[in-house]
């Protein structure tokens, strides 16, 4: 009996093995037969993949690396770097370290690398640039004396006798740093190396992230309020009229961004057309002209105009697919036109609203040119700070960190969108 059971078991395993073997063979066959197809498909997309790789993935990776890269100070100040390796950060460094620093500064001055060191260190502790250049100048003029290097340096500037200066130098020595991310969040290291909040008059980025968020939300909302009726009209008009209206909607796409933004300046500035008209009509007095340009209002208005088509098009494509009989059905069931609209029409436009809002919001949150031109002081967005650090302050690490944070925010939004609405429901037109 047992033997029988055992035999059937073996038999079963055998057939199972055979089946598995057959399965494997089939899979291999399938793979062979589709290999050529796959190769062809790959060949077709290869140029695009290369393009994306070179123009998108690499720069993106570069940006992420840059946001944590600590810069070349360790290489450019090798002696000081070696001495500071075991420094405890609670007491001032020893004389040998001071000597190494003086040596390194003099070498860097000769090699013309002091600027690089100063630039990097100044991001860590504001004012170090002037300290270094001053020290380099004074050291070059100084005659040899019996005083210790420590005395000499502290004599040049008392900041060499402060822990904060030294811990700043120690912080830029490892290859990786969190400084730029901390700065992006208005945080900084104090003299003891602990993370603290920046004083309110120097804290700008968190507020600006919030402002960027608020402006983007405002733009999205205005686009929705202005775009929804237009999209609805587009979807119900007869084709000929709808086409004409569609051209009007798309017109902004066909004119240069600069031209459009400049037109808004001409319209909204203090002595612009709108203000002139209001004064002429007697609604405003000459002295009370409205400030509609070079502030947050101007930014929102100009951006809404530019991004409006991105709201209208997805809405239109969704509305076009909603059968008019739904509204008829709703009224025939006893709903007033308003109730029918709210309970039957509006929910069905949800994929369009979601797609349009996501599109507008994500485009808005990274907007740069328009706020730069019309934003004035209060309408600046985070991208303007990124550009500022790229072009003016040359703090590329901070620019990269701000950009990475922005990227993360957008990815989180995308993820939330996918969780709540579902990305497969997205309808872009």
């Amino acid at each position: 009996m047992n033997e029988m059971v055992a035999r059937t078991d073996t038999l079963n395993t055998l057939t199972a093995d055979a089946r598995e073997f057959e399965g494997k063979a089939l899979r291999a066959q399938l793979a062979r037969s589709t290999r050529l197809e796959k190769a062809k498909a790959l060949l077709l997309v290869l140029p695009l993949l290369l393009f994306i790789g070179v123009m998108f993935i690499f720069p993106l990776a570069d940006m992420m690396l840059r946001s944590t890269d600590n810069g070349p100070v360790a290489e450019l100040m090798p002696d000081t770097a070696a001495r500071l390796l075991d420094w405890d950060q609670f007491t001032l460094p020893d004389e040998a370290t001071y000597a190494a620093l003086a040596r390194d500064i003099q070498t860097a001055q000769k090699e013309r690398t002091l600027g690089k060191i100063a630039t990097r260190l100044n991001f860590e502790l504001s004012g170090i640039r002037s300290l270094l250049t001053k020290s380099a100048r004074k050291l070059a003029q100084m005659e040899s004396s019996d005083e210790s290097w420590k005395q000499r340096l502290v004599q040049i500037d008392q900041r060499w006798g402060e822990l904060a200066t030294w811990s700043a130098i120690k912080r830029v020595l490892p290859s990786v740093t969190a400084t730029f991310y901390l700065s992006s969040l208005d945080l900084a290291y104090d003299a003891k190396g602990e993370v603290v909040r920046k004083p309110p008059e120097r804290a700008i980025y968190v507020d600006n992230f919030i402002k960027t968020f608020a402006i983007s939300l405002g733009v999205t909302l205005s686009c929705f309020i202005l775009g929804f009726p237009v999209a609805y009209l587009l979807s119900v008009l007869p084709t000929a009229k709808a086409n004409l209206l569609m051209i009007c909607v798309l017109l902004p796409f066909w004119t240069s961004l600069l031209v459009r933004t400049t037109s808004w300046i001409a319209l909204l500035q203090t002595h612009g057309i709108v203000n002139d008209l209001l004064v002429w009509l007697g609604i405003l007095s000459e002295g009370n002209r409205l400030d509609m340009m070079y502030n947050m209002f101007g930014t929102v208005v100009a951006m809404t105009h530019i991004l409006l088509p991105f709201m209208i098009l997805p809405l239109f494509s969704v509305m076009k697919s909603i059968d008019p009989s739904f509204m008829r059905a709703a009224t025939s069931l006893g709903a007033s036109p308003f109730t029918a609209f709210i309970r039957v029409y509006l929910p069905q436009t949800k994929p369009g609203i979601a797609a349009g809002s996501l599109l507008v919001f994500i485009l808005a949150i990274g907007y740069y040119i328009t706020p730069a031109l019309v934003g004035g002081r209060t309408g600046q967005m985070i991208s303007n700070f990124i550009a500022y650090h790229m072009q003016q302050s040359l703090n590329w690490g901070l620019a990269a960190a701000l950009a990475v944070i922005l990227l993360i925010i957008v990815l989180i939004l995308y993820w939330l969108f996918n969780r709540i609405i579902g990305i497969d429901k997205l309808k872009l037109g």
Binding site: T119, T270, H271, G272, Q391, Q392
Partner: protein, 355 residues
């Protein structure tokens, strides 16, 4: 990690560079600020140089700053041969090794035979750059729109006496100096005061008095535009831009020279410039007295060397910043100060602006 960064930068920038220098036979790229200023440089130096040497000059515009230059030098694919830099940028770029050193002995002597080192204003010869123009930030107003004419820099900050908006460059440079002068600091003491934390706070506080009335401009062309549009009643501006608007566009703008901040722009050669020999040749040519004098016919910026200044047209002389009549209360920008303090004052200014 740093290697990877360099590699990717080379990948991206190398691509654009191979395209742009593919056809470079005898051609140099000269980069400057564009507009009327570049036009004057073209007439003063580029065209005679091309005629003389047969080398083609490709003129490119930029908005100042070291961003692009640093990107080129770091990635090892430099396309610029000669670049026009502001003072603090010359010093910084030199410190960071982004531009090459220049030997003053290679320069053309003055028309009177004096050595170049003696002929140039002392501040116009830097380790890595040679002065091209003396320019100035002044403030200007439209005389058809202001009932009483302002005369001093203090008037610019006096919104009670002269109500209305002011235009200023979106940068701490010049603005802080003007603020201190308006607050009663003598021109000679401005940088001494500004090196102290108290002095900096004093300057920012003075600016804060008119913060709500300020409209910020970025490029030189915006300032006369703001004035013409009536957006502001007064604005700081580059003196050449206002001169241009008056001369070529018949605007009724008036320059107030009191409290002007003079500065120098320099020609410099990026480290690793593709045609270094020709670039050097151009730099020597463009800083020679004849070229500097010819250039000043077309824009009201003065030559930074004595023998060239002597050759400036009589009609132009009173419009350039260094004319004696304009120097009663004038400040020469301290490049060393700004090279040292630019980062921290920029940071403070940005935060001040945003809050």
């Amino acid at each position: 990690m740093r290697k990877l960064i360099r590699f990717t930068s080379v990948m991206a920038l190398g691509l654009s560079c191979t395209i742009s220098i593919a056809s470079a036979a005898e051609r140099i790229t000269v980069v400057s600020f564009g507009g009327a200023y570049t036009n004057a440089q073209k007439k003063g130096s580029h065209e005679p140089f091309m005629e003389k040497t047969g080398v083609q000059i490709l003129s490119e515009d930029y908005n100042g700053g070291l961003g692009k230059l640093r990107a080129q030098v770091e990635s090892g694919s430099v396309t610029w041969d000669v670049v026009d830099l502001e003072t603090s940028d010359v010093i910084r770029a030199c410190d960071e090794g982004l531009i090459d050193t220049i030997d003053v002995n290679d320069l053309e002597p003055g028309t009177d035979g004096s050595a170049a080192a003696d002929d140039f204003m002392p501040t116009a010869v830097k380790k890595c750059g040679i002065g091209a123009i003396v320019w100035s930030t002044v403030f200007a107003y439209d005389k058809t729109k202001l009932a009483t004419a302002p005369h001093s820099i203090a008037d610019f900050f006096d919104t009670n006496k002269y109500p209305g908006k002011r235009g200023m460059k979106r940068s701490p440079k010049v603005n802080l100096e003007m603020a201190l002068m308006a607050d009663g600091v003598a021109a000679t003491d401005v940088y001494k005061v500004l090196s102290t934390p108290e002095g900096q706070t004093r300057a920012f506080n003075k600016l804060a008095q008119i913060k709500d009335q300020l409209v910020w401009w970025k490029s030189g062309a915006q300032a006369p535009q703001l004035l013409a549009d009536g957006e502001v009643v007064m604005t700081t501006a580059y003196n050449g831009r206002i001169y241009n608007a008056v001369k070529n566009e018949s605007k009724s703008f008036v320059i107030v020279w009191d409290g002007q901040v003079m500065d120098i722009d320099y020609w410099a050669i990026p480290a690793g410039a593709p045609n270094k020999a020709r670039a050097q040749e151009f730099l020597v040519f463009a800083t020679a007295p004849e070229q500097l004098a010819r250039q000043s016919k077309f824009i009201s910026y003065g030559p930074p060397r004595k023998t060239a200044a002597a050759m400036v047209d009589e009609s132009m002389k009173k419009h350039i910043p260094t004319a004696p009549v304009n120097l009663t209360n004038a400040l020469a920008a301290d490049a060393e100060f700004w090279a040292d303090y630019e980062d921290e004052l920029n940071e403070r200014f940005t935060a001040w602006l945003a809050n």
